[in-house]
Subunit: 346 residues, 2 copies
């Protein structure tokens, strides 16, 4: 850690454990949300929770590349959401594992820069409980026509809009991984029928039915709500194109907690404006932060949130716990969890 | 029904059934929301669902008193949320049962105008599913600090606010009748601890604990959320006074789906402005509709909805079904459900 003499640290640890000490370099960006920065105090608290494992580590924490090249020379592991790509193997001869701080790694695709013997893991799994809450809220916001109700509050207009309870309606959930399952739990908890759209056409509970992404056109007309939870890959970009949005009922609503380029937002806002869709609750945008002149800010029938659907203030604590559990697997010679599939890109 | 000759109607029914025909007069107000008007077509659909019972009835439907005095002379039953009070017994010698269209009857209190031999029933029970949805949404809105998030959307400000999942927090629910139980189910479904405040100090599931209203001061400091669901009576007016609101945590939020005079709204808005409370989601107001210059419209950290938390578009269908079930009880000599307690005032 910065301010700690590496030599003293690794020496003392070695004396106690007689086991090899690995070097973990954490690279932060001061431009990211503080939530996604792994600060010294957060790591120290995690090291206390995982004391025997932490004793096997030498940890350095850098900011905006200040000590990056020096640390890469000896790093075995790296936590870094934007790893250096050019000549990585030469610059980091011992590097065997990179952990990203996010779940989506679309910013790193294609992975042709990543040496075959370096494992890449993401933070998928840290988002479930929060995403479930968000989807529960988003579904109810759409069911109660809250985008209009809240616009009326802003305009000081008292216009009661009465809607039925939500139970019995149908949610089509695109993607059924960590976030999709959370969305499924939310919908199921509210008494909705859940149809999952997945690559395989299979989905575990709480999905009531599933279909292959290639057959998505057959389920979109059934949806009272569509929830987008997929990562952004070559296969999901523009999946909800203008033509596919046209397949949805005019009374249906859309939630996006995945990535914005999965949906044609221009087409979406056009349709919302013309009441060809009932509403949208959108947490992901392009670019982020949204510029002040973005059409999105003032679009009709839309509630937007600033990419907060899935992130818990304890996010980095979870990341550290997940990381230590994987580190234990390395020491035990077991395969890591949360590995990114190089072909699928997530 | 209007347009149907009463004589022909009652005569033909009598011939078939040889059973006495009762006269039900439905009195509507054109000033109320259409949702709360019992129109001819709604009654006709209900009569189809309850054909043998409907055959025992002569029904008249009046608007704004147009045929009221004439019908009162022979009415056995009345559906009317604002029944005539002066000289009721003289004007309606046969009247034995009044059904209101709402659940809250605070507008009819005190009940000194109501002859002892006329039964008053309300529409409590029609609101549960919708209230559960609303409370689920309201709790999540408060947990995610949505009042601030939505104000930022309006101001085109991208300010991520990260909050923990809601599970594990504590909801104090004031009143645990039809609406309170619905609020309890909502909170329970989200993984909250539920403390009910009731007259008896007892509450059934899903409450985890209960306390007497006289001891409310002891539970308010424990609340992450307070949900007000009580009817308005002499005993609940100003129950959440300024002094009681002061007992709540500054991080806590308040939901009101009961009646607005139960909470000191001026004190509430003061506290929200000073961040002494985190947020409020308020569905009930005084007066309704809120006048355009009401402080409420622009208050900080408040989401307001126009009294829509508990009402389903199928509301009058439910009312008719409840009414026919009670009519069947009358024919069977059984006591009616949904009777208003004259002492308690609900």
């Amino acid at each position: 850690m910065p301010g700690t003499s590496k030599k003293a640290n690794s020496a003392s640890v070695s004396r106690k454990t007689k086991a090899p000490v690995f070097h973990l370099h954490v690279e932060n960006s001061s431009k990211r949300q503080p939530l996604f920065q792994l600060r010294e105090e957060t790591y120290a608290a995690a090291a206390k929770r995982h004391r025997p494992l932490a004793a096997r580590l030498k940890v350095t924490i850098g900011w905006d590349g200040d000590i990056l090249d020096k640390q890469l020379k000896t790093a075995d592991f790296m936590i870094n959401s934007n790893p250096p790509r050019e000549g990585l193997r030469e610059r980091a001869p011992r590097l065997q594992w990179i952990q990203t701080t996010g779940a989506g790694i679309d910013g790193l695709l294609p992975l042709d820069w990543l040496p075959a013997d370096i494992t890449l893991t993401n933070n998928s799994g840290a988002h479930g409980d929060k995403a479930e809450d968000y989807c529960t809220m988003a579904l109810l916001l759409l069911q109660t026509r809250a985008p209009t109700v809240f616009a009326n509050q802003r305009d000081k207009k008292w216009i009661p809009i009465f809607t039925t309870p939500i139970a019995g309606r149908t949610a089509v959930i695109i993607g059924f991984g960590d976030l999709g399952s959370a969305a499924g739990r939310a919908a199921h908890k509210l008494g909705l029928k859940v149809i999952a759209v997945t690559r395989s056409g299979k989905a575990r509970k709480p999905a009531d039915a599933a279909c292959k992404v290639g057959r998505i056109d057959s389920v979109l007309p059934k949806a009272d709500f569509v929830i987008v939870t997929t990562p952004l890959t070559a296969g999901t970009a523009n999946l909800l194109s203008r033509a596919r949005l046209d397949l949805m009922k005019s009374t249906a609503g859309l939630v996006n907690i995945g990535r914005s380029p999965v949906v044609d937002y221009d087409a979406l806002l056009d349709k919302l404006e013309k009441n060809e869709l009932a509403g949208a609750v959108l947490d992901v945008h392009s670019p982020e932060p949204l510029p002040s002149d973005a059409r999105m800010w003032t679009a009709r029938n839309v509630i937007i949130t600033p990419h907060i659907s899935c992130d818990d203030p304890r996010y980095m604590d979870f990341l550290c716990d997940t990381w230590f559990a994987n580190f234990a697997r390395i020491l035990a010679g077991k395969p890591l969890t949360n590995q990114v599939d190089r072909k699928l890109g997530y």
